[in-house]
Structure formats: structure tokens, C-alpha cells
Symmetry: C2
Subunit: 297 residues, 2 copies
């Protein structure tokens, strides 16, 4: 059973990889060889990320008996938004990261302007792929797109807060709020997408999934801050200690590493407890949560 | 009659201004004073632009008997996308413009990172405002959002081409294609939005409006290139001669000013001719076209 669930993560990752490849290949190429946009988008999108968010979407959808073909556009949309956010976050004026997924960041290869535009184009494509999915009816699409829009806006707001608190003394409440927007909103969207694809999903299940996502979202960030201090560059695929070297406030910088570890473990525990109230057997989500809890990068 | 039509442009401009103000004021403020995003968005969005695209949307919608309340979200969405594109186009890594609408560009006031994020947030909001409009039914919303996504993607592609041809010798075909994507796509979207809001719009009318928009879109750009050489900074609200000083290929640089004037006048004439085939009296669109044709900035 457990083995099957973990194998399905690999299947979902392969599935979203091939769906992204298919979708991006279908974009009409212009006749003009000097148009780099599609090339940059493919460079960034087909780098081997963890595909954590679409895996969650497929996993939740599967719990609620949604067939996988119906999940593909949502899984891709979530990942397209995530990829756009990474390209923009890596820019010199933002986090100034030269390496992403063990390859040079988009702006290092294609220049800042083209990287900004690739992110812009990716955001537009994310909305389009759901609009054009023939397997989802219109009123469901609107629910999905409305959530995607709100989540994408929150993400930009969160990154704006993140940059504005560099070199400032902030408390945990501000840090929590920033992460809730910067990464929590899109994670929540990924999880709810899987549930909203079932026409008969209950408000209770949606609310449980929201709480679950808020707990693992925050846990993941606190854990990221800890791993940022304790793990080597090569394993992370990005520069180690990058937050503290940029004077970004982090959980370890405010409350220390030991306390940070306690907090993220307790958030993961809350998340697992909440799952027992779902109307379906949530074992696959429990396993994902446990896997996250024990991740070393 | 003519006076009424031109007065209605002012009414539409006022209407989209107040709708944008209303919408942006309704965005939830966070408790954290260091979140600048809403402030930057309002700074950029409420600067007094021409509101040319939403005026077209209202005008076309009115031709096809769509009541104005039903047009507001589309008019705002179009303008939000346009505003985001101006913020990103003005960035140092792109066109590097310090002034927009006679005020400092967003990145000059708030910094590059926050300006990029404001553009990102605006794009997300554009999709959201249509999703959440209670006056439009879901299947119509999906048509509108699908067109908005394709147009917004084309716009990013066009700007990518524009930057890639700086200091290159290009022919008119490449220049036309670039403008078709960079500004034509969103103009087409603005015009079609007004028609698509009528459930019974015919394919023939849509196709006539598409041709009309392609002609005035290109005419506007050729004319912009001409005005860029011949008009003073203060009137344009941006630096004069900015394209040639950046070594951007332009119509005057390829075929000279006189030939460029002939071309844009002939494109406007084509546009006006096409309108006579519409199933409704298109006098308001003819007047807009004539007004554009004779603009001096």
C-alpha cells in the first residue's frame, strides 16, 4: 500500500512533466528565429523541479475519485504559476539567485528582460490552459480560475512583503503572514484544485483541506529556513545560507534552529491530525506529509 | 450626433477610471504597513492614461446593445493588463523609461523589484475581475478569459521580439509581426470583448471587428513611430525620440517619415471601409478612427 502511494508520486511527476512538455510544444512558433520567449519558457519549465504542487493536486483529485485526465490542466496551471514565480524571484532586483534546479537561472542565460517576459507569459498561459480544457465545464472552470487568480495575486503580495522586510526586525506574525501569502496561497490552490474538480465536494472537506494546506505550507517554510542553514548547495540546487547572507529574517534568525524544528514538526503533526476528519481515507496525504517532515533538502 | 459620440468617450473614460478606483480600493489591505503592493498598483493604475482600450470596449459593446454595467469588468481587465505591461516595459532592463503619464515610472518611485511584482499582481487581478463578475454567465466568461490569456501571452511575445531586434536590421514584415503581437493582440481583445458580451454576436461581425482592429492597431503603431520623431516630450508624457535613441528599428528608420505617414493613413482608411460591412451602424467607431488619424500625440 505505502509503496503504491509513493510510486504514484513518481507517476504524477512524470505525468505533469509530459503534460507540460506537450502543452509547451503545442504553442505556436512564430516564423521569426529571434523570438526567444518559447525557448526561455521551455528552458525554465522543463528543468526538473520537484513538481510538489501538481503531485498534491493529482493526489487530492484521486482521493475524490476525479479521473486523472480531468486534472492535467489544473496540475499544469499550478506548476506554470510556480515556475513563473521562480523566474521572477531569482532576478537580480529580487533574490538575485544565479542557480535554480542545478542549472543557471533564466536571467543568467537569457538576460533580465527576457526572463521577466517569460514569467509574464507563463502567468498568462496558466489561465489559458484551464480555459481551454474540454473536459471541465464552464462553471467549474470559473471556480478554479477565480481561486488561481486570488492565489497568484497573494503570491506577488507575499514576495513584495518578503523583499520589504529585508534587514528589518520583524516578529513571527509578520513572517507567518508573509509565508502564508508567498507560498501558502498557491499550495492551498494546488490542494483545493484536486477537490474542486469533484462537483460534489462538500464545504467541510474543502475547509479541512484548507487547514491542512495552511499547516503544511507554513511547516514547509520553517523547515526550508532550517535546511537553508544546514544543507549544502549541491543538494539544495541553489546557494546555501542564501537567506541569512541577504539579511532576510528567518525562523532560525528569530527563534533559533531548535525551536524552529519543534515548530515545523508540530505544524506537520496538526496537518496529519486534521486529515482524519476528511470524508475519504486520506492515507496518501498522510504519507506525503510524513515524507515532507523527514526531507533533508 | 458627432458631439454625443465624442462626449461618450469622456463618459467611458470617467467610467473606467471610477470602476478601477472602486475595484482597487476593494482589495483587502493587510495589517502590515510595509506591504507596498497595493500602493504601487494604485499609483500606476490611477495615473491618468488615455484609457483608449476600455473606451473601445464600451463603444463596441454599446453598438451591440450590451448595457454598460455588464462591460465594466472587461473594460477594467483590459486596462489592468495594459497598465501591467507599461510598468514592465518601463523597467531599466526593458525600455528604461523614467517617465510615464507625466509622472515618474513605477520603478523610479518604488524600485525595480516592487514594480515587477505590481505588474505580476495586476495580471492576476485582470483575470480575477472577470471571474468574479456576477452579471456575466460562466460560458461567456470562459470565452472572454481565453481571449484575454491568448492576448496577454502574445503581448509578452511581442515585447520579447521588440527587445531582440534592437540594433538589428529588420524588414517591415518582422516589424509588423512584432507590433501585431505587442499591441495588436490586446487591442483586438478590447474590441472583441465589447462584441462577445452580446450572446448573439455573429461570426461575421467578429471577423469584421478583427480586421478593423488589426488595421487601426498597426496604423496606431506606425503613427506612434512618426509622432515619436516629430512631437515634444511634454506633450507625449515620455521622452521624445526614445525609440531611435535606443536603436530600435521603426517605420521611419526603415522607409522614411513621408512613406510612414502614407502607410498609417491608408491603414486607417481600410479600417473605416471595413466598418460599413458590420450588421450595425458603426458611426462611433468611424469617429474614433478619424480622431486617431488626426491625433498629434
Amino acid at each position: 500500500m505505502k509503496k503504491n502511494h509513493l510510486e504514484s508520486h513518481d507517476l504524477y511527476r512524470e505525468r505533469v512533466n509530459s503534460q507540460l512538455d506537450l502543452f509547451l510544444s503545442s504553442l505556436v512558433s512564430t516564423n521569426f528565429t529571434n523570438n526567444q520567449l518559447k525557448e526561455i519558457i521551455k528552458y525554465s519549465a522543463l528543468a526538473r523541479g520537484k513538481r510538489f504542487r501538481p503531485i498534491l493536486t493529482y493526489t487530492v483529485a484521486n482521493l475524490f475519485d476525479v479521473r486523472l485526465e480531468k486534472v492535467d490542466s489544473c496540475a499544469c496551471a499550478i506548476e506554470l504559476i510556480h515556475i513563473y514565480s521562480l523566474i521572477h524571484d531569482d532576478l537580480p532586483s529580487m533574490d538575485d539567485d544565479d542557480v535554480r534546479h542545478n542549472q543557471p537561472s533564466s536571467h543568467k542565460v537569457f538576460g533580465e528582460a527576457q526572463a521577466i517576459l517569460a514569467g509574464d507569459g507563463l502567468q498568462a498561459l496558466a489561465f489559458g490552459i484551464i480555459c481551454n480544457d474540454p473536459l471541465i465545464h464552464s462553471s467549474m472552470k470559473i471556480k478554479l480560475l477565480s481561486l488561481l487568480s486570488a492565489s497568484s495575486y497573494s503570491m506577488a503580495e507575499g514576495q513584495s512583503i518578503d523583499l520589504s522586510i529585508v534587514s528589518h526586525n520583524v516578529d513571527l506574525e509578520i513572517l507567518n503572514n508573509m509565508h502564508k501569502k508567498k507560498t501558502g496561497a498557491l499550495l492551498n490552490c494546488a490542494i483545493k484544485f484536486g477537490a474542486l474538480l469533484n462537483d460534489h465536494i462538500s464545504d467541510k472537506d474543502l475547509s479541512i483541506l484548507s487547514f491542512f494546506s495552511s499547516q503544511i505550507g507554513l511547516a514547509y517554510q520553517v523547515q526550508d529556513d532550517v535546511l537553508d542553514v544546514t544543507t549544502s548547495d549541491k543538494i539544495l540546487g541553489k546557494r546555501q545560507n542564501s537567506d541569512s547572507s541577504k539579511n532576510k529574517p528567518s525562523y532560525p534568525s528569530i527563534i533559533g534552529i531548535d525551536e524552529s524544528i519543534k515548530i515545523f514538526e508540530s505544524l506537520y503533526d496538526n496537518a496529519i491530525d486534521e486529515l482524519s476528519q476528511l470524508s475519504v481515507d486520506a492515507e496518501p496525504l498522510r504519507l506525503i506529509t510524513k515524507k515532507l517532515m523527514s526531507r533533508s533538502y
